[in-house]
């Protein structure tokens, strides 16, 4: 009688009648009544007529692959993992979980390089070379995806010589070669690497300046605010210390978001093991986990417990918050902002998809609309279109810009000529499409609340 989700731990689970050790998403698939709301919310399906949409990628594909001879359809690689379908589904079908597992299975099952190898075996090395060069058998694509997904590693390497990296990564001929050989679009500017990482700054200042056993947070800075925008991490530290928090910065790896989006669940799991272990220890130590990137908090809060079975993983999910959200819940942020003011600033705010899915899409506009000196305008509910690594792929670049067009238009229509968002890749896309400088809400809090003269 009810269409409420049937996959409740306390209830009868049809899946229990099957003997399987694999992740079994049948109860989720059974909850889909094919209303197609997810399809109409999917930004990729809106621009890519070849993409069959989230309903197919999730419940329908799940049923198909039960049949022998049906592998995962390669259209799964077009899903950008924006997770808007989750938010749209009235029946709580775990769509993004189904997409993540399907993508993982697809990548696992592919024998990349098979075509080239068989050409070699047939004694045609020239043909093998051209297959590899043209990327027909997925070898190049896989390599490219792996490099994009492991941004953590490239950024870590680049951080040793940020100046050189910045030059090389945006050096015309190098970018041309990257596009031709690997399918990384040359249309985009690589994000600049900062001349020092957040962690270097943290160590240099001697770590936490506030000690407080009653108010303690573990900061999950993620790769981007460590390597590219340490000013976001520093703003976070200053704002939290201003409210009397003791900040822990546990050792950490990539949240895994770009890996989920590329089906590299093995890589993601290795990173998750480190993160969960260290964050669970911090929680044990009285801290809550706070992230400044909404995709990081999404990964820790939702994707981890959906995909991995690790000690403490549920605990980490339940204790993870976004940076501004946590302050709103535990401090009287509204009052503090009421008394504060900043020098006249106008912002065009874009809510990242992963903020939307956590119910955080209206928080920045709500908070800052009463702050003296600030004018902030929401630029609408469209997706920015970059979706992490999606917009970096040569074959997806045009779609990515087509999805983002509505946002660019709204940004230019807004009064402000500075953008604002919580997501680093959305920021990249906003800047790319409009040329605006983009800031994080924590930076504005820092400006409004922290007296820098002290």
């Amino acid at each position: 009688m009810s269409d409420a989700p049937t996959h409740d731990a306390d209830e009868f689970e049809p899946v229990d009648v099957f003997e399987t050790t694999e992740m079994d998403l049948r109860p989720g698939a059974d909850d889909c009544y094919k209303c197609s709301t997810c399809d109409t919310s999917c930004p990729v399906a809106e621009v890519d007529d070849e993409f069959p949409g989230p309903k197919f990628q999730g419940p329908e594909q799940w049923r198909l692959k039960r049949k022998e001879g049906h592998g995962i359809d390669d259209s799964i690689t077009s899903c950008s993992n924006c997770m808007r379908c989750d938010d749209a589904c009235p029946s709580s079908v775990p769509l993004s979980q189904m997409h993540n597992t399907a993508r993982g299975e697809y990548v696992e099952d592919q024998r990349f390089g098979r075509e080239a190898l068989s050409a070699l075996a047939d004694g045609s090395p020239r043909e093998a070379l051209s297959i590899v060069r043209e990327g027909q058998d997925g070898l190049v694509e896989r390599l490219r995806n792996r490099i994009l997904a492991n941004y953590h590693t490239s950024a870590w390497l680049a951080s040793y010589a940020p100046g050189v990296a910045n030059f090389v990564m945006n050096f015309g001929p190098a970018r041309w070669a990257m596009e031709k050989t690997m399918g990384v679009t040359s249309e985009r500017e690589f994000p600049e690497f900062a001349d020092h990482t957040f962690r270097e700054w943290w160590t240099a200042r001697g770590g936490a300046r506030v000690e407080n056993p009653d108010k303690r947070i573990a900061y999950f800075h993620g790769c981007y605010s460590n390597f590219n925008t340490p000013e976001v991490g520093k703003a976070m530290v200053r704002v939290y210390e201003n409210f009397g928090y003791e900040i822990l910065v546990p050792p950490q790896k990539c949240s895994g978001t770009p890996m989920f989006a590329n089906g590299m669940l093995g890589d993601a799991r290795r990173h998750a093991e480190t993160n969960v272990k260290n964050l669970a220890a911090a929680i044990e130590n009285g801290a809550d986990v706070v992230a400044s990137c909404t995709s990081c908090s999404m990964a820790l809060g939702q994707e981890y417990p959906e995909l991995f079975d690790l000690d403490g993983i549920e605990d980490v999910a339940a204790h993870t918050y976004e940076g501004v959200e946590y302050l709103r819940l535990h401090e009287d942020l509204e009052d503090a902002l009421d008394e504060a003011s900043v020098e006249g600033s106008e912002f065009a705010y874009h809510a990242p998809c992963h903020a939307r899915n956590q119910g955080l899409d209206t928080q920045a506009v709500e908070l800052f609309s009463d702050l003296d000196g600030v004018d902030i305008e929401d630029v609408g509910d469209s997706c920015s279109g970059i979706s992490g690594t999606y917009g970096w792929k040569e074959e997806k670049y045009d779609y990515s810009m087509e999805i983002g067009a509505e946002m660019f238009e709204h940004m230019e229509g807004a009064d402000g000529e500075t953008g604002m968002t919580e997501c680093p890749t959305c920021a990249m896309q906003m800047e790319h499409g409009t040329g605006y400088e983009i800031r994080h809400p924590l930076e504005l809090l820092d400006e409004a609340l922290v007296d820098r003269s002290q």
């Binding site: 009688m1 269409d3 709301t37 069959p52 749209a88 589904c89 417990p305 999910a317 119910g359 209206t362």
Partner: protein
Amino acid sequence: MAIEDDVCVIGGGLAGMTAALRAAREGARVRLLSHKKSTLRHASGLIDILGYADGELVAEPFDALASLPESHPYRRVGSDAVRAGLSLFDDVTGDAYRGSHTDANALVATHGGTVKPTARYPTRVAPGLASQSRRTLLVGFDSLTAFDAPLAADHLAAAGVPGTTRGVTVAFPGDFRADSRVTRFARALDDDEPVETASGPTPVRRALARAVEPHLGDVERVGFPAILGEEESQEVRKALESSLGVDVFEVPMGPPSLLGLGLEALFQEALDSAGVRRTTGNPVVDFDADGERVRSVSTDRNGRQVPFHADEFVLATGGLVGKGIDSNRERVVEPIFDCHVPHPDDRYEWFTDEAFGDHPFARFGVNVDDDLRPLDADGKVEYDNLRAVGGVLGGADFAAEKSGSGISLATGHAAGRAAGAAANQR
């Protein structure tokens, strides 16, 4: 400390949005919490007050309200609240809707070929009213299986609508996927995308008119499934009318419904300009009460609970389909506050054997006092500052009566006004 408002509305459907808007107009600071995107995108976009009573078609709904049983939500709020709710609706929708000129029900043809008695209907539907005696052609597309135009036309003829009705299925011009989404067609029509036809690339609006022309004969109006544009629907319809030389209308469709999406957008605009704070994405699962009063409700995401404090609360979570009422093998429950839901102990008495019979479960919901406050099993108010509106209310069979949106508007209006006023006094 934490997030605080004057009024907190739980549920983002028509009832919740109406309550939030009305409370905001009372001057209260209002927050609207919803789990998912609005369920309006599943709705036909038609606004009915009362289409059937005792199985009989109702021509004048306001005249029939007094004959409803005492326990019916309409009897709780009274017909003035129904009128006030409709007038708020007219204010929000403006030119996009018709029907406010009369108290009588209009008859609108649905995609299944039935006729629905309704009080307000989108302007894009208006030229198609089934009560008008005009020669009608319904056009369906082979790629859109949810609307079988010849079958719908036969049903309408069998239902005895005045005038003649024919149906025809054509191919939607252009090279779209066989299972394209309705929004894809709508967007193509919005942008008047060029499509490939036998006579070369043609703007899609003209190509569509050409595909229909050979079937026109002597008809006076043509009905399409409701996919004629999302942003530019007025222009799309006008363009088709001038190409075809007859009136063009749209037939309301099932989910995902462009007419419902359009209504959702109008309400959200009104909510934003009234300063209602909207928080969407996580379900409300828990609450904290202080004796007689609810102090806060909490949303949950994977165990992370977020409390929302307010002076007044409105429960607008819907019925059995909307999850505002749920059931297990033992009992029927209202899952957030565990408000009392009257129902027989024996679950075999929850339903009748006929599929379209008069099922008790259809009327399951919370009982309320005249101020719309839920009552416990002893008839006492559950919480002083909690009101319930829309589908979560018991005593009405929305589907059989065709009364769902009218009840949402009337109770949403009444509760929103009361909650806003009560919050102002604190």
